[in-house]
Assembly symmetry: C2
Homo-oligomer: 396 residues x 2
Amino acid sequence: MALAKRLDDLGTETAFAVSQAAAEWGAKGNRIFPFHLGDINLATPANIVDAMNAAIADGKTGYCPAAGIAPLREALAADIGAGRGMDLTAENIVVQSGGKPVITKFIQTVMDPGDGVLYPNPGYPIYESQIEYFGGRPLAYRYHETESGFAIDLDQLRELAASGATAIVYNNLQNPLGCESSLDEMQAIADIAIENDLWVLSDEAYFEMRYSGTSTSIASLPGMAERTVILYTFSKKFAMTGWRLGCAVAPVAVAQQIAKLNTNDESCTTHFVQAAGVEALARPEGAAPMLAELQRRRDAAVAGLEAVDGVSVATPEATFYLFPNVTAAMARMGFTDVGDFATAALHDTGVSFCTRRHFGRPQPGEEQQYIRLAYSGISVDDITEGLGLFADWAHG
Amino acid sequence: MALAKRLDDLGTETAFAVSQAAAEWGAKGNRIFPFHLGDINLATPANIVDAMNAAIADGKTGYCPAAGIAPLREALAADIGAGRGMDLTAENIVVQSGGKPVITKFIQTVMDPGDGVLYPNPGYPIYESQIEYFGGRPLAYRYHETESGFAIDLDQLRELAASGATAIVYNNLQNPLGCESSLDEMQAIADIAIENDLWVLSDEAYFEMRYSGTSTSIASLPGMAERTVILYTFSKKFAMTGWRLGCAVAPVAVAQQIAKLNTNDESCTTHFVQAAGVEALARPEGAAPMLAELQRRRDAAVAGLEAVDGVSVATPEATFYLFPNVTAAMARMGFTDVGDFATAALHDTGVSFCTRRHFGRPQPGEEQQYIRLAYSGISVDDITEGLGLFADWAHG
């Protein structure tokens, strides 16, 4: 009786260890400034909760179709299509218990063992985990720091794609970098996908989490809809992370396979939560104050970090993440290990954050040091106070 | 750009086609008597809904731990342990979005490609689907009809186990058969598991859905806890099928791997639904009237079927399924195909049900014909009226 060998290739989110370290330090009576959480400490709009209860009163407590209830699939097709300039129907939509299930279901649907899959590094660690778990060949592509944020190393990406790849995971409005492709960069990625006949997972979890401008989906570029699966989630926009509601947007043949995986894996997504999703899309006004609050937090966090000697940071127009370069601060303070730097910051100031290492193995030649701060789970006042302590500490 | 080859080995629940055929026939203005649904048309007790709303008001709308919230894991350990005479702790419990996810996660955790896995046929079709999907060798074991129901063919099971197997799926209080092991049969299965050093999935979805007597878990027999994963679900007992809440009960090393799969697959189960589960376990009184109603339905359905010429049926003390033998009725009416029989019954009487074929490929030598009726989604009056029409039809 042994455990299955495939489990050796299963990764995880090591960022949970940061939450645990912060919780343990807090339990000893220390004040914590939680910048490690990619969660939102704001209430879900009340109209969404009310719609859920109306659905329960209406008996929506039994099973529903594996691909989701028709009203939600239709509303998602209309809303996602309108926001991206795409023609979508309910047949393209497969409801999921959050955005994350789309990652494993995309990999299972398009990748055979041995196939190469391109994915961002630094990036959300579940991409790599699922590629390796299902026997694929992980092909990590990198970013380089620019004056205004980060850009994909397109030369490396082209080289990796030409080495033989089946699919690419693309996460514009990126976690952890907070960065966004220029339209040129996005078109270059689309060109690479088409030239190499790749499937594309477009992780659009933060598509609507932006403070200026508008988002573009790579799926809306010519030749892309038929090869792209969009990861969509209610988690961020509507402060519904714990509700577990999202969907895959996919070409019909792929959508049908993903629905079959739903039937095997979980039967369906919570029935009345889907009814709540219909309401969220119909009356999204309740989510607007949330974005305004997040923008205030971003401004406070950027200001706080800019005041730290030896720290440089861009001001992203999207997501709720910052990825400051702390190389100079670490060098001045005598740190060579970014994990040690984070632990010391926690113990000396209560400021808790993730580091570059929680988002994939460092690539060859990486010399700069980065940390990742999320400002979705901490108030403006606490941001300012915490980063003030952090600045004092870094200044020695 | 092709779809992954592994999808060729992914099965499904063909019973959904029966739902669809019934819905289509109903949409043409025909009255339907729905015996095909393994769902419950009764309301979830109000205290459970209230607890969920209290949790939302308390801010439980964000992410929670992948293995589930501590209060629910503790409550499940206490409740499941007490009901089975087992010593369980929260470490043994991994919360899931329903009972079904335990099937795929058990298979992924204990089975390598090429490993043999024993599973019941007739049985819940997802067992076979997941064994084949993850590259295992499906070893179907059969039942034979007895005077009071069905019993496992232990000789065949011993032979299959000795042919090389890694695990066995055991579903006492069985879907679709409605049958239950004698204590002797259960002990024989435990002996086979121990002698062949098998992992065991004990699907206990219907453990508390019984009208007399008490259930025994195979995990509580000597030498079994360390090799057994229990599938537990809130779906049936609390009329919460659409809520999607259940758990795996597993040895700690297995539980940790299943939690890691949770992190990869869906992050966590809906946060506030877990709080509702704590309330359900604390005050289960609300579920009692449901069981009384199901017993009235069982009695009506058995009486209705016993009145049909050429149909014989046992009276199960558990589950909400009946698996009548319709061989004589089909022969008299000139049917050789049980699917044709079901379609004719739907069109001539509106009575909709599944057949043996929705629960696995017929095994060599099978000559008797069976259908499966669920009485969880239809009232006593409709049961009596529908089966009266069915009897008239069968009598010609």
